[in-house]
Symmetry: C2
Subunit: 204 residues, 2 copies
C-alpha cells in the first residue's frame, strides 16, 4: 500500500504546485489576466493536465479565495487581545481597510467578483466569510452590552459597519475616488478619517 500512499502524496504535491503557481500569477496580474495556459506554462505542464486536478478555473481561484480569508482572519485574531470591544471594533475597521488597500486582488476575489462565489453561495460553503462576520457581530454585541455604542440591532449594526468599510475599500480600489481629484496618498487618509467619522457617530 506504500506505493498508493506515495502516489496520493504526489497527486497532492502537483495540486499544490498548481495552486502555488496560480497564486503567484494571480497576485502579479489578478484573476482575469491569469489564464489556464499561463499557469500551465509556468509549471511546465499541458493546460489539459490542470483539468485533472481542478474541475474548472473557478475551482482554483476558490482556493485562493480561501487563502485570502485566512490572511484576513489571521489579522483579525491578532486583535482578540484588545480588551475594550470598542477599541477592538475600531482596529478591526482599520485592519479591514488596510487589508483591502494592500491586497486589492485578494479583496476583489473575496468581496467584489461575481464568478466564483456563485458556486460558493449555493454550496453554502462561505464559512471563512461567515466566521469573520460572526466575529464582527460578537464584537458589536459586546459593545452593546457594555453600552459603548448606541442601542440597536447587532445584526443591522454589523451589516452597516461592514457595508461602510467595504464601500470605502471598493470605491477606492476601483478608482472611483480618483475622479474626484483625490490622489492616492490623500485618499488613504480619507479612508481612515471616514472610519473615524463612522465610529464617533455610533459611539454612545
Amino acid at each position: 500500500m506504500a506505493i498508493k500512499d506515495r502516489k496520493e502524496r504526489d497527486k497532492l504535491d502537483r495540486r499544490k504546485l498548481i495552486i502555488e503557481s496560480a497564486t503567484k500569477l494571480f497576485l502579479e496580474q489578478g484573476y482575469e489576466k491569469t489564464s489556464i495556459r499561463n499557469i500551465a506554462d509556468d509549471i511546465e505542464y499541458s493546460p489539459a493536465t490542470i483539468y485533472l486536478y481542478f474541475k474548472e478555473k473557478d475551482e482554483i481561484f476558490y482556493v485562493i479565495h480561501e487563502q485570502g480569508f485566512e490572511l484576513l482572519g489571521q489579522q483579525f485574531t491578532l486583535l482578540s487581545q484588545i480588551q475594550n470591544p470598542f477599541d477592538r471594533l475600531f482596529e478591526m475597521g482599520k485592519t479591514y481597510l488596510k487589508f483591502g488597500v494592500e491586497n486589492p486582488d485578494y479583496y476583489d476575489l473575496m468581496f467584489i467578483m461575481r464568478a466564483p462565489l456563485a458556486e460558493i453561495a449555493c454550496h453554502a460553503n462561505w464559512d471563512a466569510g461567515d466566521n469573520a462576520f460572526q466575529y464582527l457581530v460578537r464584537t458589536i454585541s459586546e459593545c452593546l452590552e457594555q453600552q459603548m455604542i448606541k442601542a440597536g440591532d447587532p445584526h443591522t449594526i454589523s451589516m452597516s459597519m461592514w457595508s461602510f468599510v467595504h464601500g470605502l475599500v471598493s470605491l477606492r480600489i476601483r478608482d472611483r475616488f480618483k475622479s474626484l481629484n483625490i490622489d492616492d496618498d490623500l485618499s488613504e487618509n480619507l479612508l481612515l478619517q471616514s472610519l473615524d467619522y463612522f465610529m464617533q457617530n455610533i459611539k454612545v
Copy 2:
C-alpha cells in the same frame, strides 16, 4: 450639401442603432456576456462594421455608462423639491439604494467595473459622476449650515455616506449577503434599516 447632411444623419442613426442594440443586450445579460458579435448579429451587420462607429467595446459601454448616470441623475433632481435638506439627503440615500438594486447591471458599469473607467478617469470625463457627488456635497453642506447633522468636514461626510450606500448595494448585488442566510426580500428591508441607522447616527 444636402447629401452630406443626410449621410451624416445616417451615420448617427447607425451609431444609435448599435447603442440601442447594445443597451438592450446589456440589460438582458450584462457587460461581459454581451459580445461584439452578439450586437452585430442583432443589428444584422458584420462585427467589423461596429468598429467603424466605435474604437473599441469599452467605448460602446461608456455610452451606456453615461445613460446610467443620466437615469440616476433624473431621479436625484426629482428630489430637489424637498425643502428640508436632511429629508432630501435621506431620500437621496433611498433613491440610490433603489437604483442599485433595480438596475444592477447599470450599477455595475457605473460603480463596480474596472475596465471602462480606466479611460474615463484619465480623460477626466467623469462629469456625470462628479455632478452627482457635488449635489451630495451641497445637500450635506446645507444640512451642516442648518445644523441638522453633527458638525464635520462636508467632504468626509459625503464620502462616508456614498461609501455606505455603495457598500450596501454592491454587497447586495454581488450576493455577499446571501451567504449570511439573508433572503432577498428581507435584505431589501435590511438595506433600508441600515440606511436609517446611518441617518439617525449623523443626525444632530
